[in-house]
Assembly symmetry: C2
Homo-oligomer: 117 residues x 2
DNA sequence: TGCTGTAGTTACCAAAAAGAAACTAATAAA
DNA sequence: TTTATTAGTTTCTTTTTGGTAACTACAGCA
């Protein structure tokens, strides 16, 4: 039993919850699970993400020590993103989220149909 | 290899991702993991949730077949919420999220301090 | 000479999310 | 007779979010 409690409004763990219970976070961490990738690669992979949202998400993850950002001082710029040790501990979690979503979508869609009727 | 791909913008699994990669969803499912609860109980447990957000979250989860809502036609009203079979398959996932948050908050806070300096 | 490519930042605007407060119904208790 | 109770809904307002477009640097290529 720790001092932290996510059910308490003022507990800082709420901030962590906000970060990882986030669509783009799940997709970014999943995309970086196997290999280092450049900004443009991520942008293309995360279909539908805007440049702004991707930058924001990556900055947040970098700040939280989940993603490592390596900048090459070249022109045109080159920036590589990878998971930190801490970030790697999230991989299992986000893959479970993905598998759950892809594995239960049919049930969810059926439930929605039933509800809407 | 299924027909679903969460990395595709138009894939309906994105909707499921939006639902479960959500702060209140994580907390609600966690709160209902062990027992059926009434609306007011949930409201008190989920510190900081507004009535409106809780209602919205519960409706969404009910629509997706994750939460079951049982209404007693009494006055004052009584409504009980519980997890469906589908909802129960989410319990492990949301508990992992909670444990990760509570277990890594210190590392995250330290990383933030470093980044902000 | 001028166009392309990369990984951003910034400003602006529209849309959506979320908070606050007021209102409901019928019964039981004070 | 008034009041409290429960689980909402509704309206209004504020805040946050997110999208679009414009701008940057400089090397390489036609």
């Amino acid at each position: 039993m720790s001092q932290w409690d996510i059910y308490n409004k003022n507990c800082p763990t709420r901030l962590v919850l906000d970060r990882i219970a986030d669509k783009w976070t799940v997709l970014v961490v999943g995309a970086l699970a196997t290999e280092t990738k450049r900004f443009g690669q991520l942008r293309r992979e995360l279909d539908g993400v805007s440049q702004k949202m991707l930058t924001q998400t990556l900055r947040g993850l970098e700040r939280d020590g989940i993603v490592y950002r390596k900048v090459y001082a070249t022109v045109p710029p080159k920036v590589e993103y990878s998971l930190t040790t801490l970030g790697l501990t999230l991989v299992n979690l986000v893959e479970t989220v993905r598998y759950w979503s892809e594995g239960n979508i049919e049930k969810v869609l059926m439930a929605q149909k039933r509800y809407d009727a």
